[in-house]
Structures are given as structure tokens and as C-alpha cells.
């Protein structure tokens, strides 16, 4: 009888020990798996954080660099425009310099040549130009060429416009037209002179 009693209790204790051991093993697995998963999740958070940090860094830097590039371009443009304004001022006053006569002759010759007609009308107009000197130039032109001296500077800055009598062919050789034709070269010349580029 005693044996049976002991046997029942012994079996129960063995079973209880199995239950506890199973629970402890399962608890160990839960702990291990949880640690591994937590580490994995933490690594993912940090990995994403590094990507986000790089994105933030690029965002801040690129917008500031872009803004600074714009500041530089704006300043360069202002400088070039300021030079061009001085150039225009210089051109409008050209009549009082010794560059005027040779330039005028060249402008007229170019315009007449470009029109290429026998009955060319040449109009000239400069600020503060002496009418006498302009008229003397008119007398040197080929026969059949009509020479007109305008009271006001052509295209505001002055220059020469030639055309045939019918007005079909016109060549504008005013300072403003020349500036427009030379736009790229002018910008390059001014930039390279000021900025050394």
C-alpha cells in the first residue's frame, strides 16, 4: 500500500518537474527570441535613422547650396548688367570721343554693304553729334545714296540704319542692334574680364 502511495506521489512529482522544466525551457526560448527580435527591431530603427539622417543632411545642405548658387548667379548678373549699363552710357556719349568718326564710317559702310542696293537710304542719329561732321560723311557716300541725319539718337543709344528706297531691305546697325547681335560675345567678354572665367 505504501509503495502504491509513494509511486503515485513520485509520478506526480516527476510530472510536476517535467511541467516546470518545460515551462522553464519555454521561458528561456521566449527570452532568447524576444532578445533577438528586439535587437533586430532596434537595428532596423537605427538603420532607418541613418537613412533619415542622410536625407535630412542632404535636404538642408542642398537647399542652402542651391540658394547660395542663386545668390552668386544673381550677383554676377547684377555686375554684368551694371557693366552693360555703363557700356550703353559710354556709347550714347561716343560722339564726343575720337572713336566716333572711325566707328561711324565703319557702321555706315557695313550697313550700305549689307543692303547692297544702288538706291540706299542711310539714316544716322547720335546724341550730341555735330551735324557738320555727320554731313561731311554723307558727302563721301556713293552716288545714289541718300544720307539722312536724324535729330534724335537711333534706338535711343545712337547708330546707323540703312535700307533700300522701297524699304524691303533694312539693315539696322544701331548700337542697340549691335548689342543684341553680339549678346553672347559681350557677356563672355565682360564675365571673363571681371571674373576671370
Amino acid at each position: 500500500m505504501e509503495k502504491l502511495h509513494n509511486r503515485i506521489l513520485s509520478d506526480a512529482k516527476l510530472k510536476a518537474a517535467d511541467i516546470i522544466r518545460d515551462a522553464e525551457e519555454k521561458a528561456m526560448r521566449i527570452g532568447d527570441e524576444s532578445r533577438v527580435q528586439a535587437q533586430k527591431d532596434a537595428d532596423e530603427i537605427l538603420s532607418n535613422a541613418n537613412l533619415e539622417a542622410e536625407s535630412i543632411r542632404r535636404g538642408i545642405l542642398s537647399s542652402r547650396i542651391r540658394a547660395n548658387r542663386l545668390r552668386v548667379l544673381d550677383e554676377k548678373n547684377k555686375i554684368v548688367q551694371s557693366v552693360l549699363k555703363s557700356v550703353e552710357q559710354r556709347l550714347s556719349d561716343i560722339a564726343s570721343t575720337d572713336q566716333f568718326q572711325p566707328a561711324l564710317k565703319r557702321f555706315v559702310a557695313e550697313a550700305v554693304d549689307a543692303v547692297g542696293a544702288d538706291d540706299t537710304v542711310v539714316r544716322v542719329g547720335f546724341q550730341n553729334a555735330e551735324r557738320k561732321s555727320l554731313d561731311s560723311l554723307g558727302r563721301t557716300l556713293p552716288t545714289g545714296t541718300r544720307f539722312v541725319v536724324e535729330d534724335k539718337p537711333i534706338d535711343d543709344l545712337g547708330g546707323v540704319v540703312a535700307g533700300d528706297v522701297g524699304g524691303k531691305m533694312i539693315f539696322n546697325n544701331s548700337f542697340r542692334a549691335r548689342i543684341e547681335r553680339l549678346d553672347n560675345q559681350l557677356l563672355t567678354t565682360i564675365s571673363s574680364t571681371i571674373f576671370g572665367e
Binding site: I8, I19, L61, N68, V83, L186
Partner: protein, 113 residues
Amino acid sequence: MVSWSRDCLSGMEAVRKIVETEAQAKRIIEDAKSRAQEILESASAEAQRVRQTALSRAEQEKARILKEAREKAEADARSSDEETNALLANYKKLFENRKEVAVKKAVELILGG
């Protein structure tokens, strides 16, 4: 008759004892199950605590990384501002020094001499 009664009693006593022992065995197992449940609950709670700690540390580290990245980028951006300011100041000087030459060259180009 007495002998039968004695036998009968000892048999009943034996059954009672077995029932008691079985009950005791059942209690042992129930206690073990209860203990096992506690172990598992404790393990789950500990796992949750470990997870929270790890994630919390990671979030703190993330905040530090982002803060550092912002500060570094702002510092680099300030450096870019300073470089740009220096460049603009240099342009101003170049403009003052070379404006006359640039105007002269441009005028010559337009006059076509």
C-alpha cells in the same frame, strides 16, 4: 463476520488513502502547472521589458543621430553661406577693379574696331 468487517474496513481505508494520495498528486501537478504559468508570465513580462528597453534605447539613439545630422548639416550650410559671402565680397572687389577694363573691351567689341 469480524474478520470480514476488518477486511472490509482495511479495504475502504486503502481506497480512502489512495483517493487522498491521488488528490495530493493532483495538487502537486496543479501547483506545478500554476508555477509553470507564473514562469511563462514572468518570462513574457521580462521579454516585453527587454524589448521595450532595447527599442527605447534605439529611439534615443535615433534622436541623437538625427539631431547630430541636423547640427552637422546646419554647420555645413553655415560654412557654405560664409564661402558664398566671401565669394560675393571678392566679386565686388573684382567689379570695382576691373569694371573700367570690361566697359572698354565691350565698347570696342560693339564698335567693331
